[in-house]
């Protein structure tokens, strides 16, 4: 494992807030028989990934559907139990805290890491008013005295750009963008340090998407939040990130500073992914190199480099040896035998 080196841009503290080291999450692969299910193997949804997120920075995890982004997020939050690896928030060992079930510490961890879901329609209880939705985390975490709740709700709504008198409305009365703001307000209620945002703008229209992305930028600067931003949409990633980690079939194949990755992708999958994005500029439709084929099934993970079945630059060694992740320049790491 290489030591992931956080972005050293001004304004970003190099001290990591979140450290993920060798995270593995596998699911049993079951075959349904006539009378019972038998476990016939495993699905490696996340395969030995390591990275860190510094205080105040955005690290984005990008990759196509099924590459393990959501599983990684859920494993970090301990919504699913990691199979292997170490995860630390500040100095707290997350896995040990959950394993020993130290209740106050578990609560403290849950408070500091909040999740913003992709689908603002599914993640808000339709029978609760906005006030109930926003006070629920306050109640669970005993975060503020009850007499302060109304004021907290008001300031949360204001914080995310909604009028305070929306507090007594219900989710169905809001547009998609407004619901996502409510989802963000709920995550902010307990003053977390890290927001894990899983495709938070993917279901929103362009003009609303821009507003929510700007809101995320505002909140980060005003509150010093760190973001683990998960998305398949590289355009929003380019806007919001300090660094990017690229995943393919459960593996982290490249990680580095955002402009560096877009300007000089070294792994061939990263290059293919970037070149596949249609640019909103008809005069700039230059050399595209569409990669052929489709992502192999997780149950038939290719040997060696997981990308070798589609890679235009594959060498014989690529199907035999797993390329190690390494960063020749100390910041931009990639796992490739024959980098670009």
């Amino acid at each position: 494992m290489i030591e992931p080196i956080p972005n050293l841009r001004q304004g970003v503290t190099p001290r990591p807030l979140l450290t993920v080291d060798g995270l593995v999450k596998s699911y049993p692969l079951r075959r349904r028989g006539l009378f019972r299910q038998t476990v016939t193997g495993e699905i490696r949804a996340v395969n030995d990934i390591s990275f860190s997120v510094a205080a105040g920075e955005t690290l984005s995890i990008v990759g196509e559907s099924g590459c393990g982004k959501t599983t990684a997020a859920r494993a970090i939050l301990h919504l699913v139990e990691p199979t292997a690896g170490a995860i630390r928030l500040g100095d707290t060992d997350i896995r040990a805290t959950f394993a020993e079930d130290r209740r106050p510490d578990v609560l403290a961890l849950r408070r500091q890491m909040q999740y913003v879901f992709q689908d603002p329609y599914l993640s808000l209880n339709p029978r609760w008013s906005v006030r109930q939705i926003l006070t629920e985390p306050l109640r669970v975490h005993g975060h503020a005295p009850k007499e302060d709740w109304d004021a907290t709700v008001e300031s949360l709504l204001e914080r995310v750009g909604l009028p305070p008198d929306y507090a007594d409305r219900y989710p169905h009365e809001f547009s998609g963008g407004q619901r996502q703001r409510i989802g963000i307000a709920r995550a902010l209620a307990v003053e977390p340090r890290l927001l894990i945002c899983d495709e938070p703008v993917s279901s929103l229209d362009v003009s609303v998407r821009a507003q929510v992305l700007n809101l995320l930028a505002d909140l980060q600067e005003d509150l010093g939040l760190s973001y683990l931003y998960i998305s398949h949409d590289l355009s929003s990633v380019r806007f919001l990130s300090n660094r990017i980690a690229v995943m393919y079939l459960g593996n982290l194949v490249e990680i580095g500073e955002v402009d560096e990755i877009f300007a000089r992708p070294r792994h061939h999958y990263t290059a293919a992914l970037i070149s596949a994005i249609p640019v909103p500029d008809p005069s700039n439709q230059a050399q595209r190199q569409a990669i052929q084929g489709e992502v192999p099934s997780v149950v038939r993970r290719p040997s060696g480099c997981v990308f070798h079945t589609r890679c235009p630059a594959a060498l014989p060694v690529c199907s035999q040896q797993i390329p190690p992740l390494s960063a020749p320049d100390g910041t931009h790491a990639f796992a490739c035998h024959n980098p670009r």
Binding site: Q10, V12, S207, S235, P278, P280, D281, S283, E294
Partner: protein, 360 residues
């Protein structure tokens, strides 16, 4: 086959002859003041109001707009496939000199699948889960082209190869659920091409796909267009996709056309305030976003005003509630088409459009 000029393209012709039948440039489709309404009819909601655009032979018209702007309903109307109780209540849809809006269901059924074909967003829903893909596509050829089964299957296999389905022979006997989303979309594209349509309507055909697969399918559409010279209406919400695939573009907002014209002109000089806002607020992978010395990030430009809760489908310009340039008359007068450049039309009172009081 005596004269190519009069020969109707048939499925039996080899794939490469057909591009020679491409007629000279003319409007294959002219949608004129299309209006679509939902009940109650005494106080009808005009979901689509006076939408007009043309599609020339051999060209791809990209229809772009955010969700709910009426892209799907406008394209379904062309095929006479509006979901009940929606109805066309005004305007014409001229296709090869005939008004499709005036045709009977029976006549339209004959046209669909022959001269007109559609590719939908979700290939899973539009394929029959109970039939192999070979059988369901072969069936269409049997019905429409009266082709014997073995010949039909051969033709389907040929089309499968053409749309980039690997191992096409053995795919014929697969069911849709045995295929990936990208593969199913290729099957749907093959189905659309079965009877050599003059016009293919594709409604967000790549939206449900991953980007590397989307890139493959966009390449495929470009390739097919170059080979067959068919016309296409390509509906998408993605400014990047439309920049790539379209020749000309129609931008829609809340059931009205904002502007229509050549792709290069619209991207270089967007005229309508909504088009300008849409382009400005789209984050892009091909540019750097600045971070200043304090770590403050640049912001994305957003549409002038906060989103109104729900779009107004009332009188006037429907963008008025959000438009940074809106004037009082904008919410009263419907902007008519104004030609601002050759081949370019914009609907905006601040860009020279005449305003017509809403006829309620």
């Amino acid at each position: 086959m005596s004269s190519l000029a009069t020969a109707k393209p048939t499925a039996a012709m080899s794939i490469d002859d057909r591009s020679m039948l491409t007629p000279p440039v003319h409007d294959l489709v002219r949608v004129e003041n299309l209006r679509i309404q939902f009940p109650p009819w005494n106080a009808p909601v005009r979901i689509i109001e006076d939408v007009s655009f043309q599609v020339r032979a051999g060209e791809t018209m990209g229809i772009v707009g955010e969700s709910g702007s009426g892209k799907t309903l406008s394209s379904l109307a062309i095929l006479n496939l509006l979901p009940p109780p929606a109805r066309i209540t005004g305007g014409r849809i001229m296709f090869d000199g005939e008004d499709l809006a005036a045709k009977s269901q029976g006549e339209m059924q004959k046209l669909r699948g022959r001269r007109l074909a559609m590719v939908f967003q979700n290939p899973g829903y539009s394929l029959n889960p109970l039939m192999t893909v070979g059988a369901q596509l072969g069936e269409i050829l049997k019905v429409h082209e009266k082709m014997p089964r073995s010949m039909a299957l051969q033709r389907v296999e040929e089309l499968f190869r053409l749309v980039g389905i690997t191992d096409p022979g053995s795919r014929l006997s697969q069911y849709p659920h045995e295929m990936s989303g990208g593969m199913k979309q290729r099957v749907c594209i093959a189905r659309a091409l079965l009877c050599n349509p003059a016009l293919v309507l594709a409604d967000e055909p790549t939206t449900a796909l991953d980007v590397t697969i989307q890139a493959q399918i966009l390449d495929l559409f470009e390739d097919l267009k170059a080979r067959f010279g068919m016309s296409m209406i390509f509906v998408t919400h993605d400014m990047g996709v439309v920049a790539r695939i379209a020749d000309r573009i129609t931008v829609m907002y809340a059931g009205q056309v904002c502007e229509t014209g050549d792709k290069h002109a619209i991207f270089a000089r967007p005229s309508h305030p909504y088009t300008q806002a849409l382009l400005a607020s789209t984050p892009r992978i091909d540019r750097r976003y600045a971070i200043d010395g304090e770590g403050r990030r640049e912001r994305l430009p957003t549409v002038g005003r906060a989103v109104a809760p729900g779009q107004s489908l009332g009188g006037g310009c429907r963008f008025a509630g959000r438009c940074p340039e809106a004037a009082p008359e904008c919410s009263r007068l419907v902007p008519q088409a104004a030609a601002i450049e050759p081949g370019r039309v914009v609907h905006c009172l601040k860009r020279g459009s005449a305003g017509v009081a809403s006829h309620d």
